[in-house]
Amino acid sequence: MTVIEQLPLAQQLLNLFAALLLLIAFAMLSQRRILTLINLFAMQGFILALSIVDSAWISHQYHLYYSAALTLIIKVLILPWLLHRLIRQLNIEWDVETLINIPTTMLIGIVLVVFAFNLALPISQLSGTILRHTLGIAIASVLLSFMMMITRRKAVPQVIGFLAMENGLFFAATSATYGMPMVVELGIALDVLVGMFIFGIFFFHIRDTFDSLDIQHMEKLKED
C-alpha cells in the first residue's frame, strides 16, 4: 500500500484527467448510440489537450503547447465535425450493434486494463517525465479502443475506435517522453486527417454498394 504524499494542484489535475480518459475509453466501449460516441471522442480529445497543457505548465516543455493546440484543432473540432456531417449524410444515427454483449465486453475491458498496467510498469519506472504513471492508462485506452474496433458490427464505430486508439497512442507518447519531435507529430496529424477524409469517402462507397454500413456484408472474401 502506498502512502500518499501531498501533491500540488497541477499534478492532481493531471491524475484526474488521466482517470477521466480511462473512463471515457470505457464509456465508448459500452456506448450504444453513434452520436454519443462521437461526442465522447470529442471529449476525449479535449481532455487530452487539457492534460497536455497541464503537463506543459508543470514541466516547462513549451513545444507541448503546440501539440495541445494541434490536438484541440484536429481532434476536438475538425474530426468530430467531419464525423457528425458524415453520419447525418449517411443517415445512421441509430443504435450500434455489438458482437458480444456489453457486460462481457466491460469485463474483458477490465482484464485488458490490468494487463496494460502491468505492461507499463517497467517503462514507467525508467521514464523521467512527471506523467510516467499515466502511461498505463494510455496503453489501457489503446487496448480498449482496439477492443471496441473488433467488437463492433458497423463501420463508423470501427473508425471511431481507430481514432480513439490514435488518441491513446498520442497520450502514451506524451506521458513517456513529453511527446514526439514536432515534425513527427505534424506528420502524424496529417496522416490522421487524410485518413479521415479517405474514411469518409469510403463510407459513401460502402453505402452505395451494400446499401448499409454493416461490416458483415463485407465478409465474402474468405479462404475456401
Partner: protein
Amino acid sequence: MEIFWLLGMPLLGGALLALTGHRRFAPELNGAISLATLIASLVLTSKVIQDGPITAFNDQFFIDPFNVFLVTLTAFVGFTTAMFSRPYMHNEAERGKLSTARLRLYHSMYQMFTFTMLLALTTNNMGILWVAMEAATLTTVLLVSLYRTPESLEAAWKYFILCGVGIAQALFGTILLYFAAEKILGEGGNALLWTHLNEVKGTLEPTVLSMSFIFMLVGYGTKAGLVPLHNWLPDAHAEGPTPISAVLSGLLLNVALYAVVRAKVLVDGALQTHFAGQLMMGFGLLSVVMAAFFLSRQKDIKRMFAYSSIEHMGLITFAFGMGGPVATFAALLHMTMHSLTKSAIFFAVGHAAQKSGTQVMENIRGLIKTNPTIGWGLTLGTLAILGMPPFGVFASEFLILTTAMHEHAWATPFLLIALGVAFASIFGKVQPMVFGETAGKRLPHPPAMVPVFVHLSLVLMLGLYIPPYLVTWYHQAAALLG
C-alpha cells in the same frame, strides 16, 4: 540535391496528374515522370557508390548502399509499371470500367505512392519513416477499391483497417524507441535519427528496445504480409487494378521489410543477443509454410500470386533473421529478384485476365495460342518465381537454403517442403492456363509485354552473372546490416 529531385518529381507529378489524369496523354505523362524519377535515382546511386553513405538536409535524409539499391529498384519498377499501365489503363477505359475522376485519382495517387515509398526509404528519421509508411497505405487504399465492386471494397476496407491497426503498433514501437533514445541522445528531433541511433545503439536500454522491436515487427510486419498478420494482403493484391498489385507486391512489401531491418540493426546492437533475428526467423518461417499451403487452395490467379509474395517475403525475413554476410547478401539479392519477377508476373497476369475477362484460373486457358507473348511471359515468369535455374531467384534461394542448412538445420525441411508445395501448386495451375484449349480473341490494344521481358531478362542475367559493381554494392549493404 539529387534527393530533392528524387522526391520532388513524384510529388510534382502527383499534383499535376491530379488535374490532368484523365487526358489522353496522362499515361504517357505518368511514364515520363517515373522515368525522371528513375534517372534521379541512378544519379544518386552512382554518387553513393563513389562517395559512400551521404546525409543531407541537416541529417534528415540518409542514403547508404542498403537503401539506395532499394531506391533504384523502386524507381525502376515504378517506371516499368508506369509503362505497363499505359495500355492496360487504355484497355480498362475502353471497357468502361473507369470514369475520368477515377483515372485522375489513379494517376495522381500512383505518383504520390511512389513519393511516399521513396520518402520512407531515404529518410533518416524513424518517425518520418512511420509517417511515410502510413501515407503509403493511405494513397493506395482508394486505388484498391478503384473498381467499386463489393469484393474490392471489402478488400480495401480490410487493407485500411488491418494495416491501420498494424501501423498503430509500429507507432507505439517508435514511441518506445524514442523513449529509449531520448535518454542517451537528448530530446528533440535528433533522437529519432537512425544514424545517431546507430552510433549509440550499444547504450540504449535493452528491455525498452526489445519491446519496441516487437511492436515494430508486428506493425511493419503487418504491412510486409507476415503470417499471421497477412489477412489483408491476398484481398488487396487481388482486387485492385493490376499495376497496383504489381507495385504493392513488388515494392511496398520491400519497404516495410526495410523498416524492420533498420530496427533490427539497432536492436541487435543494444541487446547483443539474437533475439531480433530469432523473432524474424520465426515469423519468416511461419509465413513461408502457411503461404505455401494456402497457395495450393486458391482459385483466383492474382490471389495465388499474392500468397506467393507472402511466401517470398517470409523467405527474405527468414534470411535477414539468420544474419551473417551470406544470408544478408542472399536476402538483398532475393528482394531484387522477387520485385522484378513478381511485377513481371503481375503484368502478364493482368493482361491474361483482361483477355479472358476473369481472374478465376479455371476459366483462363490457352494463352499461348491467343497471345503468344502473354503466354510465354507468364510461363517464364512462373518458372522464375519458382526458383528454376538459371533465373536469379534460384541463386538467392539456393544461398538462403545452404546457409540455413549450415546454421539452422532444423528449419531446412520446412523450407524445402514449403517451396516444393508452392512449386507444385503454381506450376500445376499455370500450365493449363498457358497451354490449354481455348477460343479466346485478341485484345483491342496490344499488350505491353516489353516490361515483362525486360524484367525477366534482368532476372535471367542476374541469375547467370552478377556484375561486380552489383556484388560490391550488395556486400557493402550486407556489411552495414551486420
